[in-house]
């Protein structure tokens, strides 16, 4: 059967095979060149520059804030105003604070992942932290921080990919939540039956609750910028 026809067939098929191999080869090399190296490098470079930019801005915020402090201290004539300012700053989380309170440590469930396990059921989520912060507030906390990030009125607790962002800063487990307030009230408020802390403990998260007589907390150190909001002018003083 070694005919001319057989040879012709083999030739045609080899031709097609050659085209397929060449296209596949070209595809593979092109994508390998395009994506993994180049893109990753560019993105890493970008991340680096943005991070350093952010650090520089944070420094600027600190220096500006110390300037502001100087101005406040020099002006003794407005003691009343300063009191008011301090109260508001405390409320806004702009002053470092200390006091009695409670320290709650929450961590991911330490377990070796089996094939088929859903990793989502082992990690602490942004919602968990959000619930816990909410319950701390409801239990009378006067100042709250998570891993050193002060929770302010405008603080977000949100997951971005595999991380959790608070005040646009990344935080990672273990999450140490500090709250200043009446320690007994805080603990009993958090340990209420059916509360989120109990639920998480039931799910297997390692949770540690500790009362403390002296907790220290940093101030919120992000930027404060209002673009859209302006206060309404009062003609009369609001009644209290």
């Amino acid at each position: 059967m070694r005919t001319r026809g057989a040879q012709a067939t083999i030739a045609v098929v080899c031709l097609v095979l050659g085209i397929m191999i060449a296209i596949q080869f070209k595809t593979t090399t092109t994508y390998n060149e395009q994506y993994p190296q180049e893109r990753v490098e560019v993105l890493a470079e970008k991340l680096k520059s943005v991070t350093s930019e952010r650090d520089a801005m944070a420094e600027e915020v600190l220096s500006l804030r110390s300037q502001l402090n100087n101005v406040r201290e020099n002006n003794q004539a407005t003691a009343d105003l300063q009191d008011e300012l301090q109260r508001n700053s405390l409320f806004a989380g702009l002053l470092p604070v200390k006091g009695a309170g409670v320290i709650i440590t929450v961590n991911d469930i330490p377990r070796n992942m089996q094939n088929g396990d859903n990793p989502n059921s082992f990690i602490v989520h942004d919602q968990d932290l959000l619930f816990l912060v909410n319950e701390l507030k409801a239990s009378g906390a006067e100042a709250i921080s998570i891993n050193g990030e002060r929770i302010t009125a405008m603080s977000e607790i949100r997951c971005a990919g595999t991380m959790i962002l608070v005040n646009t800063n990344r935080i990672a487990p273990p999450f140490v939540m500090k709250a200043v307030g009446n320690p007994d009230m805080l603990v009993s408020g958090m340990e209420l039956q059916g509360g989120w802390l109990g639920t998480m403990r039931l799910l297997g998260y390692p949770i540690h609750v500790q009362k403390s007589s002296k907790i220290e907390m940093d101030a919120y150190n992000g930027k404060i910028k209002f673009t859209y909001v302006t206060p309404v002018e009062h003609t009369e003083k609001a009644e209290r």
């Binding site: 057989a6 080899c14 050659g18």
Partner: protein, 111 residues
């Protein structure tokens, strides 16, 4: 015979490299399985040719059907969440080596 194979393969490679045409990344995997199946068919054909058992229809239909089926199975496997392309890789890989072994033995006997 060998000249025919090498020559047409070379021409095919050149045509393929000149084509301004890329497989989308999503389908590159299926294409690679198809290439593997095609390679297997060609080696099988060469072996058949040397064993004097070559059949045009079997060869061409095997080439086309194997290629499409391999890619199709890999695609189906991805849809089903089963790594079926592994099966294709193993089967075709084993067969390519077997065919190569037979071809080598024939060549040794001949020369």
């Amino acid at each position: 015979m060998w000249l025919v194979v090498l020559f047409s393969l070379l021409i095919g490679l050149i045509i393929g490299l000149k084509m301004p045409f890329l497989i989308p990344l999503l389908y590159a995997k299926y294409m690679s399985i198809a290439v593997l199946a095609a390679l297997d068919s060609v080696f099988g054909g060469i072996r058949g040719y040397m064993e004097d058992g070559f059949d045009n229809i079997v060869f061409i239909s095997g080439f086309i059907v194997n290629t499409l089926l391999a890619a199709g199975l890999a695609y189906l496997g991805d849809r089903l969440g089963v790594e079926l392309y592994m099966a294709a890789v193993v089967v075709f890989g084993v067969r390519i080596f077997q065919n190569l072994g037979v071809i080598r033995r024939y060549l040794l006997k001949k020369y």
